[in-house]
């Protein structure tokens, strides 16, 4: 029998315990990876190609405070600004009967927005139709599929933020952005429905180059300093991270729970390993008597616990990886999670935890074996 065969046989001699131990390690690592994925989803906003160039200009007071529409001319003149469009979050309830709508609706200037949302691919004739019809909208592919919408269908929204209800005709369906869920419609349509208040939610600006982006944000901020509507211009990334900051203590909480999960995992594995070794103290003593060195015995124990933990990681972290590739989390979580992707870093984390676990859980039995003399070991009845 080879050494590896010996270790494998030993590990599998109590199959039930082996399966249970591997499963509990797998379960915990699965959970750990899931938590990490969720945390990343909440704290690390999704980006697409265009996001390095996009700058978002909002009212300095807060996102909820509107900006005067007259700012458009000033922003356009700022050097380095390639394009700018009004961008207002409508926040309507779809059909009015949903409790909360999983996709956003934005009022934009279709011609100007085309420059900015370069990731979104819309067929040319659909684009033309959208620009031509003031009450029409383009819909993300995911939303269109979810509600089985096609071109020509109508969508009704009840305004929650704005005191008006809107109805759009679908002129086109786009895809290719990081989050193909949103609905874009004419800002003029919103203005008319509100009686032309002369305000917009935010401005979206496209920088001529990514290097210039921070420079341009400074220029925009300065251009409106000490006016009645001071602005906060920031890159899309900084803007999204601003949302993350608002989650406050919830982030810490999820991080803390991850630690608890890992700790619980450690406990379980350590106890199983010591159980497994304690059971064969006598055998180990026999091996010692036969002339096996102490370090060889250590190697047996270590290899077994290491193998158990790694196998757990393969099933747990690997299982999470497979599951979240196959599963459509977006539909399942009704839009709360979009990507739900297991990154290589998370896999690495799971496997390193498993490795440390293997080492730690081997420690206690190894100390036990080292301390016991052959005679003592042979005497144990356990």
């Amino acid at each position: 029998m080879t050494t590896i065969g010996f270790i494998a046989r030993n590990a599998l001699r109590n199959k039930r315990r082996f399966i249970l131990s591997v499963s509990s390690v797998a379960m915990s690592l699965f959970l750990l990876v899931t938590l990490q994925v969720a945390l990343r989803e909440l704290t690390n906003p999704i980006n697409d190609e265009g996001s390095t160039l996009r700058i978002i200009v909002r009212n300095k007071v807060s996102l909820a405070q509107p900006l005067p529409a007259r700012q458009l001319a000033t922003i356009e003149r700022i050097p380095g600004v390639a394009a700018v469009t009004p961008f207002s979050y409508f926040g309507g309830l779809y059909k009015g009967d949903e409790k909360f709508t999983s996709f956003a609706q934005f009022a934009v200037d279709p011609v100007r927005a085309n420059e900015l949302l370069s990731d979104a691919k819309v067929p040319a004739e659909q684009m033309k139709a959208w620009v031509a019809d003031r009450t029409s909208a383009v819909v993300g592919k995911m939303t269109a599929e979810r509600y089985k919408l096609k071109i020509g269908d109508r969508m009704q929204f009840t305004g929650q933020i704005y005191p008006c209800d809107l109805e759009f005709k679908i002129a086109g369906i786009y895809e290719g952005t990081a989050d193909d869920r949103n609905v874009f419609f004419h800002h003029k349509y919103l203005d008319e429905s509100l009686g032309n208040p002369g305000t917009v939610g935010t401005w979206w600006v496209k920088a001529a180059s990514a290097e210039e982006a921070t420079l341009i944000t400074d220029r925009i901020n300065k251009a409106f300093a000490n006016t009645s509507a001071e602005v906060r211009a920031e890159t899309e990334r900084a803007f999204q991270l601003g949302f993350v900051s608002m989650w406050a203590n919830i982030k810490i909480l999820i991080g803390g729970i991850s630690v608890v999960v890992v700790f619980a995992l450690l406990l379980v594995t350590v106890s199983t390993m010591s159980m497994a070794i304690r059971e064969r103290f006598r055998e180990l003593a026999v091996l010692k008597a036969l002339g096996f060195r102490r370090r060889e015995l250590f190697a047996f124990i270590l290899a077994e616990s290491f193998g158990l933990a790694t196998l757990g990681a393969v099933f747990g972290a690997g299982g999470a990886w497979c599951l979240y590739r196959v599963l459509d989390m977006q539909t399942l979580s009704s839009g709360m999670f979009v990507m739900f992707e297991v990154t290589p870093q998370m896999m690495a984390l799971a496997f390193s935890i498993a490795a440390v676990l293997g080492l730690l859980s081997a420690a206690a039995p190894m100390i036990g074996v080292a301390r016991t003399s052959v005679v003592q070991g042979l005497k144990t009845l356990d």
Binding site: F30, S62, Q65, V261, V268
Partner: protein
């Protein structure tokens, strides 16, 4: 004949060393469950605790939150002379037209910014909300850019100390006092003069009206009247009802708590099974002896199930106990309805503790079921012979 309870009980105690890890594992599961649910309970408690049952709140039809509502001044002029509205000793109708503004302010620890709900409130509005008390400083003076901040938010945001000032919009606000909402949603608000608020933030419209009707029958009549009048696109409901519904933020936390609890408990069941199998394996002979003495199979199963449940119960008690340490601790997150920071407390209710314990016992029973069945099926002679 059933085995005495003492048998199960003493077994748990005697083998504490080998069961320690399992007990702790179950304790951690229960801890996570109770802690997360206590967050959700805290949000619900804070909403449920808000408002005066006599008051009626009016917002725009279709808006889900007060902060997203807009009501015109014409509506105020019409509604304030409704005879259903009570009057104070100076003969003025008790109605407050409030303005809510979201203000993005820096956190005190420099970790970014968050939205704070600023309420522009009239003197009537302060009277209508008796649960809001001033705990330090003084109330704002109408017509001045003075602000009273929530005492629970004071350490979370920069320059919220009394006498300090911060900039929002075009104005500088001086903090003149700290308010306490008594564990209600008002603990997440800052208050200032309504007219000043409207002029600084260029708000032509109000966000909501709060009304005190003369009595219960007037309240019903008032609600009907607002609903029936086609001129108003408004929604009137009891203030307490309105706040009771503002618990959307709690839903994902509850979901997360449930999800984690289930996943972790699967792991815990595996661990408990391992422990019980080992513990039964170690006393095969003892169980054989019990059978020889005449104890039935089901008595053995029952005794072992009780042992597993007891084991888990100890874990559950420890978990609940540790989670209880957090009870009353103030924390905050972004509220989904208001889109602003909401402050609330971890609230470990007796119900949650009971749920946690039941949960633990279930884990124990599930974990010990298969091992105990196996023990009861051991052939008596073989069991007696085993070393």
């Amino acid at each position: 004949m059933a085995l005495p309870l003492r048998y199960s009980f003493r077994n748990v105690l005697i083998r504490w060393r080998s069961t320690f890890a399992t007990v702790l594992g179950i304790a951690l599961v229960v801890f996570v469950f109770v802690l997360l649910q206590s967050l959700a309970a805290g949000i619900e408690k804070s909403s449920g605790n808000t408002g005066d049952p006599r008051n009626i709140m009016i917002v725009r039809k279709g808006s889900t939150a007060e902060s997203a509502s807009l009501i015109s001044r014409e509506n105020l002029r019409e509604i304030q002379y409704f005879e259903e509205i009570a009057r104070n000793d100076r003969g003025e109708p008790i109605i407050s037209a409030d303005v809510l503004v979201l203000v993005n302010l820096p956190r005190s620890d420099g970790s970014g910014e968050a939205n704070v709900l600023l309420r522009g409130v009239s003197p009537r509005g302060v009277e209508l909300r008796p649960q809001v008390r001033l705990v330090a400083g003084r109330w704002f003076t109408p017509g001045k850019r003075e602000i009273v901040v929530s005492s629970r938010m004071a350490n979370r945001f920069a320059n919220f100390g009394i006498g300090q000032s911060f900039k929002a919009g075009t104005a500088n606000f001086i903090v003149v006092g700290w308010l306490d909402g008594g564990g209600s949603a008002f603990d997440s608000e800052c208050w200032m003069d309504a007219d000043e608020c409207r002029s600084v933030f260029e708000r032509d419209l109000y966000s909501s009206f709060l009304v005190r009707p003369v009595d219960e029958s007037a309240a019903t009549k008032f609600l009907e009247r607002i609903e029936a009048d086609r001129r108003f696109k408004l929604k009137a409901e009891k203030e307490v009802e309105y706040y009771r519904k503002q618990t959307m933020t709690a839903a994902p936390i509850k979901w997360l708590g449930g999800f984690l609890a289930i996943m972790m408990s699967v792991g815990a069941v595996f661990a408990a099974m391992n422990t019980m199998y080992a513990s039964i394996g170690a006393r095969t002979r003892e169980i054989g002896t019990l059978r020889v003495l005449g104890f039935r199979r089901r008595s053995v199963v029952l005794a072992l199930l009780i042992e597993g449940a007891l084991l888990a119960l100890i874990g559950g008690i420890v978990g609940c106990g540790v989670a209880y340490l957090w009870n009353g601790y103030t924390t905050a997150t972004m509220g989904f309805e208001t889109f602003s920071e909401i402050v609330f407390e971890f609230t470990v209710t007796p119900r949650l503790m009971a749920e946690g314990l039941i949960f633990a016992v279930l884990v124990g029973l599930l974990g010990s079921f298969l091992p105990s069945v196996r023990a009861s099926r051991l052939p008596v002679i073989a069991a007696l012979k085993s070393v």
